[in-house]
């Protein structure tokens, strides 16, 4: 019984020669290649914390949250200008206006900003405003988008597809690397499993952190907000991710105030600034230990 398309980790040196540890022995078994985003160093001496709202909803909202994130000690900002939503009838993001707000928030706080791009035709536009470009989970295998993002030369945050094997994830990163861009940070954000929907949105797969470490030299961070989908789990999940060896965290925050208008997306998983402050403190206190490759 021969199964088509069965690519295993043993095939990695052939499938991903640019990114596989086995074909890049200069990194040894555990060294991480540092990715520099405007002075923020992923894979260096301590975990990085990226924080911000799910979506940029208004100038006021974004500037306030950026300021709160800065005060809480976050290293970078996040916020969606182009939002992938399950239904086309839901809020799709502010687009270019959102990008401009993000730029302003970055300038006000001095924190670099990461935001998502979904359309090959908008890569140039997003690259103009963002310090780091995010490929979302839904588009991890949209290869023309990966290629285009690779060509910008900007650092890339590559989220794992919700059903991506490790080989598929690193294969996606290889598309970016093939364009000469090695400034890639991987991001685990939860996988689809049988419990998804019972008590969490996805299953946080921390095992993959050590497996990434063993197979490639790219830094890897964790998104505890999407990986749990439950605000009360974000803080323990963040600590757990750091202890498991993550090079950083990507976290959704909210002001914590009840506002007249309902939040436009994913309110149930956003934490408040005080929780963020505790997470930052925990993360920054951790000297990244170069763990042995599994």
């Amino acid at each position: 019984m021969i199964i088509a398309g069965k690519t295993t980790l043993e095939d990695l040196p052939r499938a991903c020669p640019i990114l596989s540890r086995k074909t890049n022995r200069q990194y040894g078994d555990t060294l991480v290649r540092v990715v520099d985003v405007q002075g923020v160093h992923f894979g260096a001496d301590r975990p990085i914390v990226i924080a911000g709202p799910c979506a940029v909803e208004s100038r006021d909202q974004m500037l306030e949250l950026a300021s709160l994130a800065k005060q809480a000690g976050a290293d970078m900002l996040r916020g969606g200008a182009y939002k992938p939503r399950t239904s086309p009838h839901e809020f799709q993001g502010l687009g270019l206006a959102g990008l401009k707000i993000l730029r302003e928030a970055s300038q006000e706080t001095g924190l670099p900003v990461v935001t998502e791009v979904m359309d090959t035709r908008l890569v140039e536009q997003v690259a103009e405003y963002a310090d780091m470009i995010q490929i979302g989970s839904r588009n991890m295998q949209c290869y023309p988008l990966l290629t285009e993002v690779g060509r910008t030369g900007k650092p890339v945050l590559l989220k794992r597809g919700m059903a991506a094997s490790l080989v598929e994830w690193l294969g996606a990163a290889e598309y970016i690397a093939k364009e000469g861009n090695l400034d890639i940070v991987l991001c685990e954000r939860g996988i689809k499993t049988f419990p998804s929907g019972e008590y969490c949105r996805y299953s946080l797969d921390l095992n993959v952190i050590q497996a990434v470490r063993g197979e490639t030299f790219l830094p890897v961070i964790v998104d505890p907000s999407h990986a749990t989908g439950v605000a009360a789990m974000v803080e323990p999940a963040s600590r757990a991710a750091v202890e498991f060896g993550a090079d950083g965290l990507l976290i959704e925050v909210t002001t914590g105030r009840r506002t007249a208008s309902a939040p436009k997306c994913d309110a149930a998983q956003a934490i408040n600034p005080e929780q963020l402050r505790r997470i930052v403190e925990f993360a920054h206190a951790h000297q990244r230990r170069a763990g042995p490759a599994p």
Copy 2:
């Protein structure tokens, strides 16, 4: 414990008002809206069989396989000109040259052709050569691509993401429908589960066929080649899909001859023309029974 982003089938009328049966009572509980692709009718009186190679590899290969598919009784042709591959170092398809070969194969046989598009910038080009545009499993949630394909007005074959819930799948279809294009055929192609890789490539999820029937009026077909990944399973899987109520099949074929050059993709799941002939015979003998909505 509140979980963010938990969309259930109860939310469908709100998430997918254009495609939900509940908001389109003119289709009743079981009626299917027929999709016409150059005279090939999906959702009408009998299952449709689409056949062809995984990728267009050369003019000779494609014309030969098209002719064999025609002789075997297939209704339509398939073949990849732009191929999504796990590694960027693998064969990526012939691109425009492949589209021209597909067009020629269609003219020679009189069979309409479906082929995949992955890049928003290439939608117009692919629409020029194809009779039906395929959105592949990896790009099911690439929303700008869905929107762009919706705008062409061409019939669309929307494959299910390998981890897509029914709500997510229908939400993706709604992006196409929102552009005024209702000529959408859904295609189940296997889901990622724990057995994936042990004895099959994916798990063929036939239950979803009846669930699709219950929730929307769009036709739904099955790809037994990817859903099993094992050539010997394709024939029984095809019969099973038809019996479960599928409106058609999407099948990979090969000449069955051993050639000097190794096949470029997914050889292990391609069947030979004689097997295809038996499948077509089985499918065409089945008057589609409008089964009761589950």
Copy 3:
């Protein structure tokens, strides 16, 4: 990175020397060893249909359903006397009284009966009343129970665990075989996957039917009632299973009458006698084709 406990199909000849095709070449690539249950032959010329209620609830209910199953053409009866339930506060079955009712139903109809055992201490008791002993999905890896059942010498119906790999399933069968009992019929009943709970109870995994055929000579049947959990799916699922090569079906039925008392378990998946009659007709019309091993 070495993973503990990773047993693959390549290890099967060592893990299951009694049941593996590779170590029992007398069965060739496709022959099935027929299991005879009081004249009902699994793996012989045509699929077998076993039907009955989820649980024996009363003498009247069981005798009526047995009679209806007989009229519909079923080959064997099913019914739970000892019922595994998620909560201990739910109906647990009639126990010994239920076994006696099953025996009576068998005598009245002339159809052999299969029923489940969960407790090593009750194997002897169940073996006294049943013609075939069922090991349920939850107990597929309760090895002392398998050993005990193997020792009775009675035919065994071994349901697949809801998360069992093929190797684990055949390993469980090997425990029975090791006691000298080869009269084992395997039963696929759906696996736990991410869609479980959205539109079906489990995912019907038909791919495994062909994989079983390739790896062992034991007959394999399908339980479409549990594998879907939706009454409207049972009939198409039954036809699909037969077309995929199943040696039989295990189906839950109900009288279809609304009764004063609510049914005690799994009412939503039970079909009525008329649907059963159509399924039996379909199954019995199929000469089992000895398909090629995948």
Copy 4:
């Protein structure tokens, strides 16, 4: 479309009235009921570490490992006398002789011991030698076994089935509780998911820890050895589990010496005493924070 047997967390007060927080408001939202095993307190002020070999293989091996575990600071011993193995031809444990060795190891070190029982007929025997009885993952839904173990009055370690929903897991615990035994400690040990087998044995599901805390007052620990299946992941997984709120750890250790005879089971996931010492130190330094219920 009505799905049979769909039990959700909303049904918990009805399915598990003895163990649900909602029906036992004396524990409030976060209080844990302490389980006392010969002076070792689960759910009290700090996480508990249980350590030992996968299986008791000999008196010398067990006594040496017990001594090493004691020196490393472990609170309790583990070791299998009756071992559930995928193949019946693999080592099945020393049985009663193994229990006696465990008892001796307990007496020598002063550490209580936990060991697994699989057979209802052996519950009394195991209860005589063990301080805490383990129900393994494979038998989580063997209800007669749960009932029997509940009747012994001994503390029980209830491992989660590898495909068990939270409702199914708590339902299993309720069987024990129904016999009047509330001394139950839950143990997460990894779930079956699509990555299982690629880079890990199972997926460590830490999200469930907080979900358990929200739904019941029982303590919950984590088995990082089985949940990863990779020795190099055990230490980071242990720290992550503690940070996520686990009340303890269950860890497999080995002497780290290469011996003449190959280890009899699961060698690839066992850690050495020095790693165990670091884990114990980390765990014991953590005052258990009663986290808010999710």
